[in-house]
Amino acid sequence: MSRFHDIALAVLIFGCSPSASDAPIAVPDRATFPAVADLLVKRCGTLDCHGTAYRNLRIYGSQGMRLSPGDRPLSKGTTTAAEYEADFQSVVGLEPEILTTVVKDGVSPDHLTFVRKARGTEHHKGGSLMQEGDAQDRCITSWLAGSTDVVGCQNAANGSF
């Protein structure tokens, strides 16, 4: 009986104790995300890339996939608040534990698959979309670092390619 009680107590303690997956997740700033999202919509969110619901990173926005059944792609400048929110949830939901280390502990952003693929340092069917340190990269990394370069993001989103 004593052995049974010991086992039961151990199960109770370890079964109910907080695990790593229960630790709070830290995310980048939501308020400045639309500036980042506009860049993602343009560079990543085309209908033949991440403008589809079939990808882990799914991007909604005026240039590609729309959230509302009544909206249409290629309607520049009309990304809705709901689409920005869906994009935010998609980005922060990719690798939340790693994102937390980047946002909270200042770990290098290239620990995120999202950043590595965009930089082309990990195989990405869409190729290399940005180089470390260029305007597009600075937009994303500044957001991850907690000091979003909003003007830089807007310039990058309005760039030629």
Binding site: T46, L47, D48
Partner: protein, 154 residues
Amino acid sequence: MKKLHLLLVVLYACSDPVHAQQKAALGGEVAGVPHGPTHRPGQPCLVCHGNFSVAGTVYLDPIEKNGARDVVVVLTDSQMREHTVKTNEVGTFIVRTNEWQPVYPMKVALEYGGVTTPMTADIGRDGACATCHFDPAGPTSPGHVYLSPDGGTP
């Protein structure tokens, strides 16, 4: 029997069920239309034609399915290299891989009647217009490619 099983496993391993499904979804040929540059307008050409780099069909307007002939399609890739091609009698244009292969992303514009209409978004990686442009229009497709909303010269 073991050899037959092995053969079946090898054959299955060499098939591409996703691609096969994509091809099957396009349906059969239209009776009376020869297999060639005028067949299957509006379909994603690159599903079957691996020797095409960019291809598609341009229509006159967003409603009717009347192909727009002699439209100049101007393609500009991320290296700022430009390639132009003209649509044929059913509105279809074809760029073969041995003619030009874009470095994506790519921009496209249509020239007709002295007016140039650029596409508002870039093309990410797929040279088949109909991958994204299909009917009916909805949240995941702007509908087929067309020249102008009213069908006239833009």
